[in-house]
Amino acid sequence: MNDIVIELEGVWKIFGERAGEAMAAVKAEGLAKSEVLERFGAVVGIADVSFNVRRGEIFCIMGLSGSGKSTLVRHLNRLIEPTAGVIKLLGQDVMSLAESELRAMRAQKIGMVFQHMALLPHRSVRDNVAYPLEIRGEPKGRRWDVSQHTLSLVGLDGFEDRFPRELSGGMQQRVGLARALASDPDVLLMDEPFSALDPLIRRQLQNQFMALSEQLHKTTLFITHDLDEAIRLGTRIAIMKDGRIVQIGTPEEIVTDPADDYVRDFVQDISKLKLVFAHTIMEPLESYRAAAGEAKDLSESPRAPEDSDLDRLVDVSITTPHPIVITGAGGRDVGVVTKDRLLRGIQGGK
């Protein structure tokens, strides 16, 4: 349990003057969202959200606008107060913190990146990056050292003394990322950081972010409305709809086994080539033999390990007329992927 960094348990957020009453009614009667609005004039922002994020994980929360994802991420550092539920960060109950403890936690444990950068226009890039350290009261020399270092991490050497307005959108967001990293936080909260950028720059920043997170291993809560982005970056993905979490799983689980029609709609256009692996689509060796007969000779078949993705299997398959034999731990044969299975797998069917 020690390596669970973020822990949410039954978190609710209801907006409105009568949020308290509405919450009680929801708990007692299980009202639907529309009923809450009708009876209390209150809007349900977050409904009964629970999940854990492990150390070093990039946990993506994906949802369309209005699904409550940006509201949810602001609960972690209590920029928004929950109506009910438990939020723990690094084992500490966030709700029990006093004002000053909360500020200390925000300054030391959490770095946040915003959709619209939210840089301070009157400060140089260096001073923007150093802002969290300045709040913590670090001396100026140290602030400069750290900001120099984090700026070089995001590839912005030489821009320290510029002002944000002189930088392009992509560069500004890299400053935002550097600022979030400057205080060396345990947790990164990223609220649609790349959504406002054009697709090419977005792709570049995603790659840079992935490289950076391999290096730094920051536990990250990443908010996005773009499933492609969630799949590229996420260790696990939570899909939100109307303030509720519909499904949590690895990108492969989400794509191959969508929990409901809503998720299925999202994933149907996603390419499975890099997401689905041999062990998911293979037929176990025993059942293959049972169906095709013991005599079926697999000696001429190529071998591929079970963690090969479909892209790799296609490469193998076009070189041979035989089915591919999948090998498990220790090089033992565990299953078979025929051409039919491979094609169905690419389609996403079973």
Partner: protein
């Protein structure tokens, strides 16, 4: 929209059937309005339709249909036309002139009688008296003629009134459908817009008309309407009572708060005296050099040249000392304005309630004529420099407060949120984020305040503040045009030096960097 050929795609667009919704909207006479609205909606050119209900019933139709703007506009126009008709029919148009003529005639008769008496007594002035009696008689005759002419104008008035009335009604009939159609469009997006035909609205319209029409007609057409209709029934005693009450209140407050007021006076005076000692006491070359350098370094060469010219004007025309006194007065008033205004502005930006309270007070401070609060200031602080400054502060404080509050509320919420997310305290947020981002707005406020302070110097001199204002005041008293204009220009020079330096300083960071 116009007659040009529409592209194929829009030609092919199926027509939507508005019938049911127009029926729901119109209620009574629905089929009529359905066809009328269709006609208006499909017309390419301006189409005139005549609504007979509106033509016949005018404003009452509008009231029943809930078109209150239409109702008021045409009710007033029709009332105007009716008043003309009424005056033409029953009005005694010659009455004022006839009264004058009668008065003149009476006077003439009297003087003529005096002349006869004088003549019979054989006095020498009789001829002159008879002459003036004849003059008056002629004047009276002229007045009678004019009265006759005015009375003859009654027919014209009657005709004009009737023509106007018919024109207005016709206009109502022609506009009605179009106006009602617009109401329908609004009603489609906002169901609170009145719709249908309502008897209660008709009754309200009737009641309004029943109050307005007879009373107004009576007032304008009868030559001697009853007294109660002409004068507002308010007694003079309220006014005196309230004024006396305020008088007593001020007296008591001045007595009770004497210590406080003396303290304020002493504090203000200390600041003023210091600034005055520096400005008036320092040798003029030092001040000139300082101002020129400040203008150059803070605002650039052009402002420095302008400052030099303005200072030369002040110095060569002998306004130096007075200008320094004025600058000291304005400077200390501005310092107080900033010291009070910025914190109050911050408070107003923080607390909605504080701003709700402050707003009417600020409006009052800005719009109340200065002379009105000069009176209580004199009551509390006497005359001299300090009350002059206080009056200046009252007038000039609002822009700093307003613009500080405005600047702070306009700081982007996302930036504030980011600062909070990194653990900033409220003070760090204010100092490091909000105030810097609000600086342009705050400086605009400070600038306005300085200029408003300068515009107050003449009024402040009324209660004994010395300086250029006094010069203008003296010129005013002796109608010395030249002197007044010269002193006025000196005030302008002071104002522009301060304005250009302060403004120039805060504009520069954007150009540079």
């Amino acid at each position: 929209m116009t007659g040009a050929r529409a592209p194929q795609a829009t030609e092919a667009a199926p027509r939507i059937d508005l019938g049911p919704s127009i029926t729901e909207f119109a209620g009574r006479q629905a089929p009529f309005y359905v066809s009328r609205f269709r006609l208006l909606l499909s017309a390419r050119k301006r189409t005139w339709t005549l609504n007979r209900a509106a033509l016949l019933f005018g404003p009452l139709w509008a009231a029943a249909r809930g078109l209150w703007g239409f109702f008021w506009l045409f009710a007033i126009l029709e009332l105007f036309a009716l008043v003309q008709v009424g005056r033409g029919l029953w009005g005694d148009l010659g009455a004022p002139k006839r009264a004058e003529a009668e008065r003149l005639q009476a006077k003439s008769d009297q003087i003529a009688a005096d002349a006869e008496a004088a003549l019979s007594r054989g006095e020498s002035g009789a001829a002159a008296l008879r002459e003036s009696a004849a003059n008056l008689a002629r004047a009276a005759e002229n007045a009678f003629l004019e009265a006759g002419a005015a009375a003859a104008g009654a027919t014209t008035l009657l005709i004009v009134g009737l023509v106007l009335l018919v024109l207005f009604r016709l206009l109502e009939g022609l506009r009605a459908d179009r106006v009602y159609e617009r109401q329908y469009s609004r009603w489609r997006s906002d169901r609170r817009v009145p719709s249908g035909f309502s008897f209660s609205r008709l009754a309200a319209g009737l009641a309004l008309a029943a109050i307005m029409f007879p009373a107004t007609l009576y007032r304008f057409t009868v030559s001697q309407p009853a007294e109660w209709l002409r004068t507002v029934p308010i007694s003079r005693t309220y006014h005196t009572g309230a004024a006396n009450l305020l008088d007593r209140w001020f007296d008591r407050a001045a007595e009770a708060g004497a210590g406080v007021f003396d303290g304020i006076t002493a504090g203000t005076e200390a600041v003023l005296d210091t600034i005055e000692a520096v400005l008036a006491g320092a040798p003029w070359p030092v001040i000139v050099l300082f101002l020129l350098l400040a203008a150059w370094r803070l605002a650039g060469v052009r402002v420095a040249i302008f400052t030099g010219a303005a200072l030369a004007y002040i110095g060569l025309l002998g306004f130096w000392e007075k200008s320094m006194l004025t600058l000291a007065l304005v400077g200390s008033a501005a310092v107080f304005c900033v010291l009070i205004g910025i914190p109050v502005g911050i408070w107003c930006a923080r607390s909605r309630r504080a701003y709700a309270v402050a707003r009417p007070v600020l409006d009052l401070m800005q719009t109340m004529p200065a002379f009105v609060y000069l009176i209580p200031i004199i009551a509390f602080f006497g005359t001299g420099k300090v009350p002059g400054i206080l009056a200046t502060i009252i007038f000039s404080l609002p822009p700093v407060i307003r613009l500080t509050a405005l600047g702070l509320t306009q700081v982007p919420a996302s930036v504030v949120e980011a600062a909070r997310a990194f653990g900033a305290t409220r003070w760090q947020l204010l100092r490091g984020v909000e105030l810097p981002l609000a600086t342009p707005a705050i400086m605009t406020g400070v600038n306005q305040t300085i200029l408003m302070c300068l515009s107050m110097v003449v009024i402040a001199s009324l209660i004994g503040a010395k300086g250029l204002g006094q010069e203008v005041l003296i010129a005013l008293q002796y109608v010395a045009k030249g002197q007044g204009i010269l002193a006025g220009l000196a005030i302008l020079c002071c104002a522009m030096i301060l304005d250009r330096i302060v403004q120039g300083h805060f504009k520069r960071p954007d150009d540079g960097a």
